[in-house]
Symmetry: C2
Subunit: 363 residues, 2 copies
DNA sequence: TTGTAGGCGTTATCAC
DNA sequence: GTGATAACGCCTACAA
């Protein structure tokens, strides 16, 4: 018997700092109980919300006041140990650096916060190995559930595990993704309608399903228009402006009149390459991006692109996960729409007589 | 009976899924001990690295193999409870959506990962109240230390608490910040040298020290050049492209020949406003940004800006924190340099005879 | 070199 | 309504 109710012992090692608040988190429910003159379990009852109906209102208030005075907070490690749950979820993403992703994070974070969860972020750096490794580490307990953005579901995970996948369809799991197919189709429809025939594709080399979807849409739309997708210029690149700029050079040398880019970042790189070649957008070249990132309207000319709602995706993903963790029925899969935003980077193609290399005052 | 070494009892509730790995994290050190035919404390010894010198190599190997076979991972909640530390740090940022910040995060995350820490991310949404609240929640135990990016240090925190502040000098604490003063001074020096006199300032309205530093540098440089900082055009705006574009309009109407922007995002907004007014950069207007974000070289013309190393800041901040938590001596404060990157958006001012509103073919 | 026992702070199940 | 008591899984003296 280590300590008792009415013992004269000063509670723990509560150290007070300059401004009078406890500085070490050494206040336990036992201290609160002693301070309030009740038993420890009563304190527990009050704090876990199971008070009403079992503990008198007066007592509850007394406990709460004592807790406030002592600066008590339930210890999450102890809770997690006892409850077997940490009220934390992990979000694994391939690249925190992509601004698109941070908006997903924000959406998820908001939703999670509201439901009383914290989110642990893990950046896998587009490294499959590291991803698996981080995931393994996470399984040790710090997370109750997993939000996987574009990252593979690690093997060895039971089908009933609390996992929601983003931007990737995995059979038997819950997932949420954008309608990349529809988005890309809208982009090609727009370009085709403007009269473009020689439409190039600046594609992301990152092997993610969403990009396969875009490619599929491209082939379908082009074929339907009587064009051969295999004959049209295409280049792949990492999702970064400088890489895109490099890859876009050779692509532009094939003289397309329009380019569909898998990502606004790629479109930005393309702008740079076009500038180097003194090609004018949209006069010599129409460009369509994907994502509608912040900077899209700031480019010159403003970028026509497919607008997505990343915050919505984050929030939706969390909802699915939360439902899964708490055994609630929710939708199992959801597809979020994309919307074509026509700005200044697309126009009908100009029939050009002279080599477009000549420039200067030819407007 | 799925597996066993020597004891007849099947450990716990180990459920095996399709591919033969344990799917529920219900394997404890006791199971491992039983499986390996040793005591639980031996397992603990092995896993906490205190094995060598106290446990024979053969036994250690036996334990490790058993653990591997069972898919055992130490329960972090239990460890945290016992050890009083969670090996997690929290990173509080005002706005996850800012791409600059994600690079800080990546730097911190890398460093933390290496040292065996996970990072819990909290987005305060530029909301002081929410920041304090999140912080309070965090103090309940999930984090051993705090990395505060541009967010205030909450009151009631002892001076010896494990806190590292970024982009804000707080007396008595460890902090790391960029040399915003020097960066801004370099920008103004560059503009002044080019011959600009009517230099405007598109400033961030967010009340952060780094922006005060930039303003101070502006006043100093301008004064030294014999100019009156109070006479020169200045506007403030939120850090977002569209807000910046709105704020930049009136600023441009005051006819500056150059603008220093507190952030590349603001510069991007300024580009848009300049375009609306048919002002050419850099012919009619020189622009300098701050941060060297990804998109800076993709703007038309490529943006002259102050390059920073956000990953370095994240990593440095973690180092300071880690030192603090483990009682190691480290530098207490560090100032990271910024570097002027001259690209295409700055040029000597043109003496213009006619009102610059006239445009079209005036090149 | 290995095993035993006690407790970290909570929650939950019971008697009272 | 309220108060003991037993886990949750792990670490660490200390005993063997």
């Amino acid at each position: 018997m280590t300590m008792k109710m009415s013992s004269p012992r000063v509670p723990g090692v509560v150290a007070f700092d300059l401004i009078g608040r406890p500085s070490r988190q050494r206040v336990t429910s036992v201290d609160v109980a002693r301070h309030a003159g009740v038993s420890q379990s009563t304190v527990s009852l009050v704090f876990s919300g199971k008070g009403p109906g079992r503990v008198s209102e007066a007592t509850q208030e007394r406990v709460r006041r004592a807790a406030r005075e002592l600066g008590y907070r339930p210890n999450v490690a102890a809770q997690a140990l006892r409850l077997g749950s940490s009220r934390a979820i992990a979000l694994l993403v391939p690249d925190v650096t992509n601004p698109f992703f941070s908006r997903v994070l924000r959406g998820a974070q908001r939703a999670a916060q509201e439901a009383g969860y914290t989110v642990v972020l893990v950046d896998t750096g587009r490294d499959r190995q590291w991803a698996e490794q981080s995931f393994e580490a996470l399984r040790a307990g710090p997370a109750d559930g997993y939000l996987l953005f574009e990252v593979m579901v690690p093997e060895g995970l039971g089908p009933d595990q609390p996992v929601v996948v983003m931007e990737r369809e995995v059979p038997g799991r819950r997932w949420v993704r954008f309608d990349a197919e529809g988005g890309a189709a809208a982009a090609f429809g727009h370009l085709l309608e403007l009269g473009h025939r020689r439409i190039a594709h600046l594609a992301a080399s990152f092997d993610a399903p969403t990009f396969h979807l875009r490619e599929a849409a491209r082939r379908r739309m082009l074929s339907e228009a009587g064009l051969d997708p295999d004959e049209l210029p295409r280049a792949t690149t990492e999702i970064a402006i400088d890489s895109a700029c490099e890859a876009a050079g050779p692509l532009l040398d094939e003289r397309p009149t329009a380019v569909f880019c898998d990502d606004d970042l790629l479109a930005a790189g393309l702008y740079m390459a076009a500038r180097e070649r003194r090609m004018r957008i949209p006069d010599d070249l129409s460009v369509v991006g994907f994502d509608d990132m912040d900077f899209a309207p700031a480019l010159e000319p403003p970028l026509t692109t497919i607008a997505l709602d990343p915050e919505g995706m984050g929030a939706t993903a969390f909802e699915l996960l939360e439902g899964l963790m708490n055994g609630r029925r929710t939708r199992k899969q959801v597809v979020l729409p994309g919307e074509l935003l026509v700005r200044g980077s697309t126009a009908p193609p100009k029939r050009r007589k002279r080599p477009p290399r000549s420039q200067e005052e030819d407007q």
